[in-house]
């Protein structure tokens, strides 16, 4: 989905609030959220792709105003309700207030019918795929050309794995793009590398 989570290249955000040795957590409840979603993954209640997708499904206004760990909390609660571990009513009764969840999921998809093995140096293009469900292709590379610089082991295919759809594991390719190709006349010169699933790529002859 072309969701609000897909931040790469969006304009208007200001200075990074950088401090050296910045903490990962600012409050104790944040440590607890992080532990609990990780526990749910270890217990097999949901997988990381489902977890990420439930964050992406948050209403955009909520996503942008929630802190990082509130997004984490919302995903965790959404999936616990969707998996039947607890009802929304029970959560709201225990929390003594309303408990906003993410929006329902749209359909996912399985691997592309035609997939090709690439090797470093191959020129590739990112397919013009528009999908309503989960996808790990940042919008800024869609339709763009780049060069393969590396291949990963096979991973679960996220477009399927986030939706409990059967699919084959497939490798990702680290693809090198030029920032000037991604945002012509509107980027600092740099090489931008993205881990791109095999199903998202086609060869440039």
């Amino acid at each position: 989905m072309d969701g609000i989570h897909d931040m790469g290249g969006r304009q208007g955000f200001g200075q990074v609030r950088y401090t050296r040795k910045a903490p990962a957590f600012h409050a104790d409840w944040e440590v607890r959220v992080n532990s609990l979603y990780a526990l749910a993954v270890r217990l097999g209640i949901f997988n990381m792709d489902e977890y990420r997708h439930a964050i992406e499904r948050m209403e955009p206004g909520h996503y942008l105003t929630a802190s990082y760990y509130e997004r984490s909390l919302t995903s965790l609660a959404t999936l616990l309700v969707e998996k039947g571990i607890v009802s929304l009513e029970e959560l709201e009764r225990r929390a003594e207030g309303s408990f906003p969840l993410a929006a329902p999921s749209a359909p996912g998809r399985t691997n592309a019918a035609a997939r090709e093995r690439f090797k470093p140096g191959d020129r590739v293009r990112v397919r013009l795929d528009f999908v309503p469900g989960h996808i790990r292709m940042p919008g800024y590379i869609r339709g763009k050309a780049g060069v393969v610089v590396g291949e990963s082991p096979a991973y679960p295919f996220p477009d399927a794995h986030a939706h409990a759809i059967a699919a084959q594991d497939e490798p990702t390719y680290d693809v090198r793009f030029r920032s000037e190709d991604l945002w012509p006349n509107s980027a600092d010169p740099a090489l931008i590398h993205v881990g791109v699933f095999q199903s998202y790529l086609e060869r440039i002859a």
Partner: protein, 199 residues
């Protein structure tokens, strides 16, 4: 003026702490050992994980054979030092800085990091400003964070969009040549492993 037939009940959104308490109590009541898990993360996240990356870098600086193995297969090489990665982190790519190349890692879609190696990601890494800007305005963003790179240094950004994890291998400062490994590890910062700081 007529009154509405029914009272409209507007429930206030519960605070994040109350929402979390609700979930944690559900976990505990169902025997899922939530409280114990929280204590484990406190220890691992704040103490052990943060040191792994520095130990790896220090070893790579003093041991060329290890450095070669680290660049060829990061996950196997860090395991030699007893550093493990979660099951879904199946691949670790180590990115070598040179006088002419600065590597920087990010996750524009969420917050993915090799957290058992680098440590849990700092707040700014997960912020919308870093995620949106570092791919498009890399040099400007780095400068704003205190890393003003000479024009001849090429910037290579790595967006962690899959289950491959990345770690930057910073250059060893010349003044530290010959130092013992443990002392070298003490100068390797988390931010240098992300690539927003040079040592």
């Amino acid at each position: 003026m007529t009154m509405p037939d029914k009272d409209i009940v507007v429930k206030r959104t519960a605070s994040v702490e109350r929402r979390l308490d609700a979930i944690q109590s559900v976990f505990d009541e169902r025997g899922m050992k939530a409280t114990q898990t929280v204590e484990e993360l406190r220890h691992l996240g704040e103490e052990e994980w943060g040191r792994n990356g520095a130990r790896v870098v220090a070893r790579a600086w003093v041991d060329p054979a290890f450095r070669a193995r680290l660049l060829a297969n990061g996950k196997d090489a860090v395991a030699e030092l007893g550093a493990s990665m979660p099951k879904h982190h199946r691949h670790l790519v180590v990115l070598e800085n040179t006088p002419k190349v600065q590597n920087v890692i990010c996750c524009t879609l969420c917050s993915c990091t090799a957290f058992t190696i680098i440590g849990l990601p700092p707040d700014w890494y997960k912020d919308l400003a870093y995620r949106s800007r570092v791919v498009r305005e890399s040099r400007t963003v780095l400068k704003g964070m205190g890393l003003d790179l000479p024009a001849e240094v090429e910037i290579r950004v790595w967006d962690t969009t899959a289950d491959t994890r990345y770690m930057v291998l910073p250059e060893q400062p010349p003044a530290t040549l010959g130092w013992p490994e443990e002392k070298l590890a003490s100068i390797v910062s988390r931010d240098s492993l992300i690539g927003v700081e040079r040592l």
